[in-house]
């Protein structure tokens, strides 16, 4: 079983990223549960999307001991890394996250939003770049399943740029 927490601020597409990750796992024939928590604001404020992927049925749907934390803002890192074990994988968007507690041993600082803007022209591809890092750093979902899941969710006409985003993330770590 692997537990993911994707966190950032509302509007960064993290709930969608969680859904895509869970759908990729189901595509790979695994069990997956996705849940989320957010404040009343649709934009801004910190939000998290949690995904548990397992070979066996998943009972409790909330993440207890994350194996993987994505932090897209400093505020999200401060808020959602408190129960993160020292050995867990931590991916931060270095565009926004500067201070990382020293106790973490597996930290990947990726300029996710900066890459999205500079390489793909728009910051809204940041969540898909982040999913590329997930596919690379864990073996829980295949890159093929991830790509299939991404393409099933994104608007028609944006398939190619989203495929690039995924690749960009995959190669950034």
């Amino acid at each position: 079983m692997m537990q993911f927490r994707l966190s950032g601020s509302g509007g960064q597409g993290l709930i969608l990223a969680g859904i895509i990750l869970a759908e990729a796992a189901i595509e790979d024939g695994k069990e997956a549960v996705q849940s989320q928590s957010y404040g009343p604001e649709a934009r801004g404020g910190s939000s998290k999307s949690e995904v548990i992927i397992s070979e066996k049925p998943i009972h409790y749907p909330k993440v207890v001991n994350p194996d993987f934390l994505l932090a897209m803002t400093q505020e999200a890192l401060n808020k959602y890394a408190t129960d993160l074990p020292d050995e867990a994988i931590l991916v931060t968007d270095s565009t926004f996250v500067g201070e990382i507690p020293a106790r973490f041993k597996n930290v990947y600082q990726v300029p996710i939003t900066k890459l999205a803007k500079e390489k793909l022209g728009r910051d809204l591809f940041a969540n898909i770049i982040a999913l590329g890092t997930v596919a690379k750093l864990t073996d829980v979902v295949s890159i093929e399943a991830m790509e299939k899941a991404v393409l099933a969710r994104v608007p028609k006409g944006t398939e190619e740029v989203n495929r690039q985003a995924l690749k960009l993330g995959f190669e950034s770590v």
Binding site: I19, A22, E23, I26, E31, A32, V33, Q34, S35, Q36, S37, Y38, G39, P40, I58, H59, Y60, P61, K62, V64
Partner: protein
């Protein structure tokens, strides 16, 4: 077989309604139930049905009663505050015996509370929320696939017993997404309301048959029947008679209690040799599965009794559990509601412990495991 997809609980509920034959939804947006309305706004017209967003929660309830009387299976969806507003008309639907389904995705309360946080604080509101006295059916799903099957079941019970049926979700189950495989429509049991066998003129719209339920014509079928929320006799017209009042109110209870074996559903897990039984429903049952798995791994004999029908209470089955175990832990996301029912039912046969939590966070498997250890 259909392909496995990731589906949200609220969406499974909406799809269950379509599969059950519901063709009318009226409601008002409220977190965390809104996705039920949003999906049905799209899905109902695709199958020839109608969706309307009304001006308030009360109007949503009124419209589904009207549509159901006219002959169309109908539902609404809401959360605690809206459920409160609907209560008067839920009572109307009980009194006038109008089949309908009310989905309540519970959130933290009272009042506006925490709209995006889970709770199970409407357990007693589902039972006693409306004024007066009546029997009640409420179901509580614990998974996304069960959101689908229990919505179908809710319609079946509503139609069979001519009563409003409450589908009591919580935010955990309503908002989470998990694997779902759409059942083959042919595999589903769909119950439709009994239609009158007698012609207009001879038919009495509120004369019960042996099961306590009268057949129900729809509008435009020539029966020209009258419906009222007043106490009424078999003709459907108001009556001030004490005898009529006594019989009617009693039947609103007994048509459910006399058919309790047909109505109640529950899950009994690892109870055969259990010393400690957990009673949990809805989202809390998910924690219980995990806690019991951990307890068993440590050699602790723990099991789960999960009321799927939370009203009426599966009394007989719960009492049997109490006769075998030492301790019953009632885990619920409120200040302690269902625990009172469990205590009432088990009559001291077992030690009943409340594990209640009301701080927006679900009860964790660890908290429950600790309670199980303490209850040995």
């Amino acid at each position: 077989m259909a392909k496995a997809v990731l589906m949200q609980g609220n969406h499974a509920c909406a799809e269950g309604a379509i599969a059950a034959g519901a063709r009318f939804f009226a409601g008002y947006p409220i977190t965390p139930s809104t996705e039920v309305a949003e999906l049905l706004a799209k899905r109902l017209p695709q199958v020839g049905g109608s969706f309307i967003q009304m001006e308030d929660e009360i109007a949503g309830m009124a419209a589904i009663i009207g549509a159901s009387l006219a002959g169309t299976k109908s539902l609404t969806a809401t959360s605690g505050p809206g459920f409160s507003l609907k209560q008067e008309l839920i009572g109307y639907a009980s009194m006038a015996e109008v089949p309908c389904v009310i989905v309540n995705v519970q959130r933290t309360g009272p009042s506006t509370g925490q709209p995006t946080s889970p709770a199970q604080g409407d357990v007693m509101q589902a039972r006693w929320g409306s004024h007066g006295d009546r029997g009640v059916i409420a179901l509580s799903p614990s998974s996304v696939p069960e959101c689908f099957t229990l919505t179908v079941e809710a319609f079946n019970l509503a139609e069979k017993y001519r009563t409003p049926v409450v589908l009591l979700l919580d935010e955990i189950i309503g908002h989470m997404r998990e694997k779902f495989v759409m059942p083959d429509p042919a595999s589903l049991t769909i119950v439709n309301r009994k239609k009158p066998a007698l012609p207009p003129g001879e038919f009495l719209p509120y004369k019960p048959e042996a099961d306590g339920v009268a057949p129900m014509p729809g509008y435009g079928e020539g029966y020209r029947f009258h419906t009222t929320g007043l106490v009424h006799d078999y003709t459907g017209f108001p009556s001030g008679s004490n005898a009529v009042t006594h019989e009617l109110i009693e039947r609103l209870h007994t048509k459910i209690t006399n058919n309790i074996d047909d109505i109640v559903k529950y899950e009994a897990l690892e109870l055969d040799d259990a010393e400690v039984a957990v009673v949990a429903f809805g989202g809390t049952a998910r924690s219980a599965y995990a806690a019991i798995e951990s307890a068993r791994a440590e050699g602790i004999k723990a099991g789960l009794f999960r009321p799927i029908t939370i009203w009426p209470v599966p009394e007989k089955q719960l009492f049997t559990v109490a006769e075998k175990v030492k301790t019953i832990i009632v885990a619920e996301m409120n200040y302690g509601q269902y625990v009172g029912e469990v205590r009432r039912v088990v009559c001291g046969k077992a030690n009943v412990v409340s594990l209640a939590k009301w701080n927006n966070d679900p009860i964790t498997p660890n908290e429950l495991l600790n309670a199980i250890k303490a209850g040995r």
